[in-house]
Symmetry: C2
Subunit: 256 residues, 2 copies
């Protein structure tokens, strides 16, 4: 039987507020077995861009990444956020290693082709180097991945952290029994977005289609759930969408 | 016989100018055998600090690192500079991995005690995890180290890149036949700082003391050479102080 691997994706306010990040990392450090963390860092990049007078442009919730913006997200994601997580985990006895997809050629991606929108230096994942990740894990390291990949031609590419979580989970599902946990600002996928108690406990493809057609599930939840169902189809054993506290107390929406 | 390991330290203008960095990385990618790169990034941090309205304070050529400055150097060193180097090396077929001393617990340091000057979040190296570096090298990876270490209690510490180069070279001298090359803005240690042709070809401790007492060697060269002699005493086989071009064409000052 394969060993258990827990992959936690964390983003949004959890990353931005030192106290909530600290609590999450403490909970993460207590997870037994192999583990890996993938983080975003969105609004902190927006804040730095503002201070530097670089305009943040978004399209469908994705950041349009020109050359200046790429430098900003590289500083914030690979520098500030990634190393803050690594140094805190090390202090909790977790042998963390902070990496982008360029390091060790972990994640190669394709610059998104220009159609209606030119997203700039944004990458869609092509391959995940699961062998190297698997080696790091079996050597006792805990990879902490920043949402940047590369094209192999000398360009870093800004890459959605949910997609990195889904694709790495899928790639590692051959070697491990993978549990993928998306921690975000709500308690799970909600039936009513204003009621934190309306968590949908389990969601399969059929119910997902139904909720989408009814407009119960919409906006930013759709790409997140598409990623989750793709990982599920690729053999990821358990997928949960939950709050930061969910890492400790359980709960959230299970993807079947 | 131990395998050859080349450690290149690069800083100053070489890092700041895209063309010179590019040339250096191309030369570095052609070095045969095991290799490792250690970089600085000083003035780029000063520039970002200026843009963000954070005052840069220096004492004896070292940056005083308060909390805001630590965030800036983390963004610039571990983010911008480190990942630019990694992504370019990957494009040249070098399987680079960008790391700080916090990653994999590679370099633990002590926050410098406050005497006449409070340097803030500045670290003096305590231990180098040579086993992990050695494993990375033997697995075919090329470590690219940013000048940040950690105290094991959750703090990153700004650490002089020359010292990181000397200490890692010394720690790896048990497992490898180490060649340490400091690339900087001049052709080597100069007899006359205004004459690039006045390179001192070899320097032993005796001659170093003599040149120091005569005022021929002074200022920023002194900590650089102290580091180099310390590494030499610790068993590093070959130490050269040279220009970026020296990596390709040879020359420079050899430390005996």
């Amino acid at each position: 039987m394969n060993s258990q691997l827990t992959i936690v994706k964390v983003g949004g306010k959890i990353i931005e507020e030192p106290d909530s990040l600290n609590t999450l990392l403490k909970d993460f450090s207590r997870i037994a077995g192999y583990k890996m963390l993938i983080h975003g860092g969105g609004r902190m990049a927006t804040e730095l861009a503002e201070k530097l007078g670089v305009e943040s442009k978004m399209a469908d919730g994705r950041r349009i990444t020109d050359e200046k913006t790429l430098k900003i997200v590289t500083m914030v994601y690979a520098g500030l956020v990634n190393k803050e997580i690594v140094v805190q985990l090390q202090a909790s006895g977790v042998d963390a290693v902070g990496l982008t997809g360029a390091d060790m050629n972990l994640i190669a991606s394709l610059k998104r082709p220009v159609k209606e929108i030119d997203y700039g230096f944004v990458g869609d994942i092509k391959t995940v180097n699961s062998r190297v990740l698997s080696d790091l894990l079996s050597q006792g390291f805990v990879p902490v991945l920043a949402p940047l990949t590369h094209d192999g031609n000398g360009n870093l590419l800004n890459t959605n952290a949910d997609s990195i979580a889904a694709e790495t989970a899928a790639a590692l599902a051959y070697d491990f029994n993978v549990r993928l946990i998306y921690c975000f600002e709500k308690n799970g996928v909600l039936r009513n977005e204003n009621d934190e108690k309306s968590v949908i406990p389990t969601l399969d493809r059929e119910l997902y289609q139904q909720y989408k057609s009814e407009g119960v599930i919409k906006d930013g939840m759709i790409p997140k759930l598409d990623n989750a169902f793709r990982a599920r189809a690729a053999g990821v054993q358990e997928i949960v969408i939950t709050s930061a506290a969910g890492l400790n107390i359980g709960g959230g929406t299970y993807i079947r």
